[in-house]
Symmetry: C2
Subunit: 332 residues, 2 copies
């Protein structure tokens, strides 16, 4: 099923069920007031939401209304956990090559993961409000899993069964602030200011065969100022699948319902290998790494005020799975 959180002036918004074709929706407040409330008691709540979802898809829901992505908050407008891994390690290898440093890559059995700002997650059409272009504002197109409770030391197999929903993210980075901030080892606090989510979050079964091996085997389309700049295959080159990321997260501590795990910008190793489709890029930094490797310096600038970014994933039939993230960068 597909779920959304609609703006109602409150901090957490209101839970709604959205039809498979994203054309209509129905409030779910009679079942659970918020997405967090649904996740807190998923085994009891989800079947009721599924029932409403079936009615909606069959045109039998009583008070269906037109679905408007602009009225969406993030599925969880505030979350108790937002951790993001760099699962497409090609991104890190390119960074290393571009920098020309000999820093050894992180051992391949441990995904690099960082905690992010979970207290203010943004809706798909919310403006991206940042003060200075000089911060090196970069989009980051990716996927995230929304979890149920996961006990400490859960295995990847156990973690797999605790993934309740999937969504798209725009995980924004301030590339000019990140190096100084992460140099002492403490991660990204100011340099990861804003993450936006797709209009709907979907249960993994909604993806059918495209959800297998803990990965989403569909292309993620990124359109920057109207130009398609990336369409990498999210199922390829993912060195750590979602269950592995979750297992890493909960190695020493429990994960609680509503915690969100991202997988970093999607990055394919080799465009040629994918056939006729050039994968392009899911974040500007990666394009700049490639330019630096090829020409000694980057040529693509970071985002400018007024820039638009659109992130979407289509099924093989061309239908949008999650709806589109469509944001504009603006000054405060």
């Amino acid at each position: 099923m597909k779920l959304a959180t609609l703006k109602d002036g409150s901090r957490d918004g209101q839970l709604a069920v959205v039809a498979r074709d994203l054309k209509t929706a129905h409030m779910a407040d009679a079942i659970a007031p918020t997405m967090q409330a649904a996740l807190d008691d998923w085994a009891f709540i989800a079947p009721q939401l599924e029932h409403l979802y079936a009615q909606l898809n069959h045109g039998q829901a009583r008070r269906a209304f037109d679905f408007d992505p602009a009225n969406c908050m993030a599925p969880l407008p505030r979350a108790y956990g937002w951790t993001t891994g760099a699962a497409w390690t090609n991104h890190l290898l390119l960074r290393q090559r571009a920098r020309g440093d000999g820093t050894p890559a992180r051992p391949s059995d441990e995904p690099p993961m960082v905690q992010g700002a979970a207290e203010a997650l943004f809706g798909p059409c919310d403006d991206l409000v940042l003060a200075f272009e000089a911060w090196g504002i970069d989009f980051g197109a990716g996927l995230a899993a929304i979890l149920d409770d996961v006990p400490t030391a859960a295995t990847p197999d156990e973690a797999h069964g605790r993934i309740r929903l999937l969504a798209l993210v725009n995980d924004v980075s301030l590339r000019a602030l990140a190096p100084d901030e992460s140099a002492p080892g403490g991660g990204f606090l100011q340099s990861k200011p804003a993450t936006a989510f797709s209009p709907v979050a979907v249960t993994p079964d909604e993806l059918g065969e495209a959800w297998r091996g803990g990965k989403v085997h569909l292309r993620l389309r990124t359109t920057w100022n109207g130009h398609l700049v990336g369409q990498p295959d999210a199922g390829a080159d993912m060195a750590f699948n979602f269950p592995q990321l979750v297992a890493h997260l909960c190695k020493t501590r429990p994960v609680r319902a509503g915690s969100i795990v991202g997988a970093g910008p999607v990055s394919n190793k080799d465009g040629a290998r994918k056939g006729a489709v050039a994968p392009g890029y899911a974040c500007i930094a990666e394009q700049r790494y490639l330019e630096t490797i090829a020409h000694g310096a980057p040529s693509t600038p970071f985002m400018r005020f007024g820039d638009t970014i659109r992130i979407e994933m289509l099924e093989e039939q061309g239908r949008s799975v999650f709806g589109a993230i469509a944001q504009t960068l603006v000054k405060p």
Copy 2:
């Protein structure tokens, strides 16, 4: 006023008001069901809680009951943000000296801060459950501020007025995991597994003259296996006060009600300077740094299963401000 969250089998517990002497309490569910609910609407809720607090302190609350810290959850058993700074930079300088490395200290105008696991915060008497002593299990006695909404780019002065509550923390570190984990720059995910909080959180006015300049001018007492090992003055040597930490946190993004900011283990520079009272240590790592500097190697081991840790702060009259964190380290 003093507030606590009592265990009731739910994820968020129930909000209670606790008398100044910590002897009695009164449910506050008629005012706000949870601590988060109170923080979400503080301007409206706080005066009602203050009224009940006054009644309780005067023995006039109708359904007062004996207050039992063992029945407390963390004030926020799950939070939308938990970020901790290293405000007592002496701790970092000692680490640097002990390692004998020439790494330059971080510029003094930027507090080192990391995001922590906010989704599972522990109560004052909850067991500290960790699998392996070999992880280098260390307590970390400190203070934390619980915030109201703070807008992006707020100044320290603005942030000061958004601090709603203060509490004690035991910010546990796995010292054997931390170096490898933080080396790539991503912060501490597995190595900061469990943070416990004092039985009550208190409004800053509750500290009277001890809360000034955005600091708590009282000694923080740490007792390890029954031995008092630390009593540093939390008002001394704090290089970044709480408003500065909050302003750093919100430089590029908003902070939302219920976000918690910690200040790291309390650390005084020089015992002699404080008069007759030796400050001791608030985390084992610091003692090991001192031993390494003096003797070339550490001699104090990290925690062992069965160890107890008690963290408390007394007013000048000897009365406990926050109640005590009193945990035992156990295997799963």
